[in-house]
């Protein structure tokens, strides 16, 4: 629990210059990345992926298949890293945990009435505890955007703190759903609230709302993490999710991460990509680098 005296007045969260942040974010896309660096970058990005399936039609079979894929991304390319984690609904945690065994890949579970978050707090806490008891290493919660937009910041803060407590040992990712927060100012404020309330990760989106992760919004959150680190000395991890499906874009994010937070964050303990189709695109790029031939999606596993 965080001592009350360290909690700042969130109405004083810095305002974000929209034009400036978008301009700054677009600069990161103009870095020239040469072959060897690109190769390392792609490997790193692959290792940072939370391979995700969050659909109403998910079955145990689908989750098992995804877990197999997480461990055998593309066997034609020896020496590939695995992804960081598998991200599923609470009902699939047990299946995923069993399928992943001792591979070292973590199981992340969404909770708290994902994706809307429209449920009473006791249900959200039970949802979280259910996921943790089934073996989830990480919990992805959604904030109550309605309450946040109403200005009920204390409610949002308390809810995150309560879920953090329910998580126990599991690391907590707090999804802000930036697509519903509308302005960068609100994203910044929500990031500050989440970090002070005990988040281990802040995460952009559920992937169910468009726009999902964008570079400017991620930059706002990375800067919030940086400021929080300078003030408290505590590192918070970042997870952009949704809409990142191309390797090139993933490399742009890594450039942004490195130039904003530095090398200390350049690993999958402190940065993740929430994505389902990014892995295949990276694999296709890696195979292109290896064989010199442009690749086809037909030769890569779908899930």
């Amino acid at each position: 629990m965080i001592a009350t005296k360290t909690i700042p007045d969130f109405s004083l969260s810095p305002h974000i210059d929209q034009v400036g942040i978008e301009e700054r974010a677009s600069r990161f896309t103009k870095r020239s990345i040469k072959n060897e660096t690109k190769l390392h970058g792609l490997m790193l990005a692959l290792n940072m992926i939370d391979l995700t399936t969050l659909e109403g039609k998910d079955t145990e079979g689908k989750v098992k298949q995804l877990c197999y894929k997480a461990q055998h991304l593309h066997d034609a390319y020896p020496g590939l890293p695995t992804v960081a984690a598998i991200c599923v609904y609470p009902s699939m945690v047990k299946t995923a945990k069993a399928a992943l065994g001792n591979s070292g890949i973590k199981v992340a579970s969404v909770a708290t009435a994902f994706p809307s978050g429209q449920a009473p707090r006791d249900i959200k806490i039970r949802d979280t505890k259910y996921a943790v008891q089934n073996g989830a290493d990480e919990v992805d919660m959604v904030i109550s955007r309605g309450k946040f937009l109403e200005g009920e910041y204390n409610f949002v803060f308390d809810e995150i703190a309560a879920i953090k407590e329910a998580c126990g040992e599991a690391r907590l990712k707090v999804i802000l759903e930036t697509g519903e927060l509308v302005t960068y100012d609100k994203v910044r404020k929500a990031s500050d609230i989440a970090m002070y309330a005990g988040a281990d990760f802040i995460k952009t989106s559920t992937g169910k709302i468009s726009p999902a992760a964008t570079m400017p919004v991620t930059l706002v959150m990375l800067e919030a993490i940086r400021d929080f680190y300078y003030k408290t000395g505590k590192k918070i991890a970042m997870k952009p999710a949704g809409g990142i499906s191309k390797s090139k874009l993933a490399l742009h994010y890594l450039v942004m991460l490195n130039e904003t937070l530095g090398e200390g964050w350049m690993n999958n303990e402190w940065f993740r990509f929430g994505a389902s189709s990014l892995a295949n695109d990276i694999l296709m790029q890696l195979m292109k680098q290896k064989t010199g031939v442009y690749q086809s999606a037909n030769y890569f596993s779908i899930d």
């Binding site: 031939v293 442009y294 690749q295 086809s296």
Partner: protein, 298 residues
């Protein structure tokens, strides 16, 4: 304004055609197209392998929609292309004349292109019947074979002429439901870019035809070895390059089609067999009940 002042002509920028858009080449390079009198005709994009890669992505995305359309509708769209070409005839004739053709030759070439599009427009929903079959089998199955589009086709248009070769190669590819990336003639590229404008105003979905300009020698390897391309069409008689294409195409078992002996300006330059060159035959065994011991008869 002094009326004696000569008006400065606005010249067209010849760009490439990818996914229904007209981008410049990603590489930023260009070359100067000239005619036999060494007059500069235009600065033309010198396409790169990345342009080709982008075009393959566009063609692959367009394939599902195009191949899934009713064959009749594909025919309507090909007819529409012919209509648009008819309407812009003079522009093509002018460009052909700039590129060394006489007026009569130019007119004949454009007319033949329009007729050829109408020809393939008609074939769109008819070649299937001609090349399908119901096969006699000895078990209680209804067994039939039908042609289906190969997929994404990478074609290098005949380098000797500006428009006729290009149209004669593209029309049977798309009539059969494939999508394509076509490299225009390097020495006579003007009509290809203008033809892309015709395609763009003909209800043809973006990405079905992608037209690049550039050097054959630089790009041909990628046409042959890209894993997401299902067939390569090559029209030159250069045996070394033909061999290279065949070898590289083996990588993902691409269909290789060589048209080095075809005379496009003659009647032999059009035929439903050109459509069939880029079709796969799918045979289906459909189980049926053998009612009362009666023979399956069709």
């Amino acid at each position: 304004m002094a009326t004696t002042e000569k008006r400065l002509e606005v010249l067209k920028t010849y760009k490439i055609y990818i996914g229904g858009q007209f981008p410049r080449t990603e590489s930023g390079r260009y070359y100067v197209a000239t005619n036999s009198k060494k007059e500069n005709l235009a600065n033309v994009c010198l396409g790169s392998r990345k342009d080709f890669r982008d075009a393959v992505v566009a063609a692959r995305n367009a394939f599902g929609g195009w191949s899934g359309r009713a064959a009749f509708n594909r025919g309507q769209i090909l007819y529409r292309i012919a209509e648009m070409l008819e309407g812009r005839k003079t522009q093509f004739i002018d460009e052909l004349i700039k590129q060394d053709a006489t007026r009569t030759q130019a007119e004949n070439e454009v007319n033949l292109c329009i007729d050829r599009l109408i020809y393939y427009s008609g074939w769109c929903d008819k070649f299937q019947q001609l090349f399908s079959s119901v096969n006699p089998v000895a078990s209680s199955h209804f067994n039939f074979s039908v042609p289906e589009p190969t997929g994404v086709v990478a074609a290098i248009a005949p380098q000797g002429d500006s428009l006729l070769g290009l149209v004669s190669v593209i029309a049977p590819i798309i009539a059969g439901g494939n999508t394509c990336i076509v490299l225009a003639s390097a020495t006579k590229p003007l009509c290809a870019v203008t033809f892309a404008e015709v395609l763009n105003s003909s209800d043809l979905p973006g990405g079905v035809v992608n037209i690049l300009t550039g050097k054959v020698a630089e790009l041909v390897t990628f046409f042959a070895d890209h894993m997401d391309v299902n067939a390569t069409v090559f029209c030159e008689a250069d045996t070394a390059t033909q061999k290279m294409i065949k070898e590289k195409s083996a990588l993902n078992v691409k269909r290789v089609v060589l048209y080095d002996k075809v005379k496009w300006a003659t009647a032999a330059g059009q035929s439903p067999y050109f459509i069939m060159d880029l079709q796969e035959i799918k045979t289906t065994w459909h189980p049926i009940e053998n009612i009362g011991g009666a023979k399956a008869g069709y």
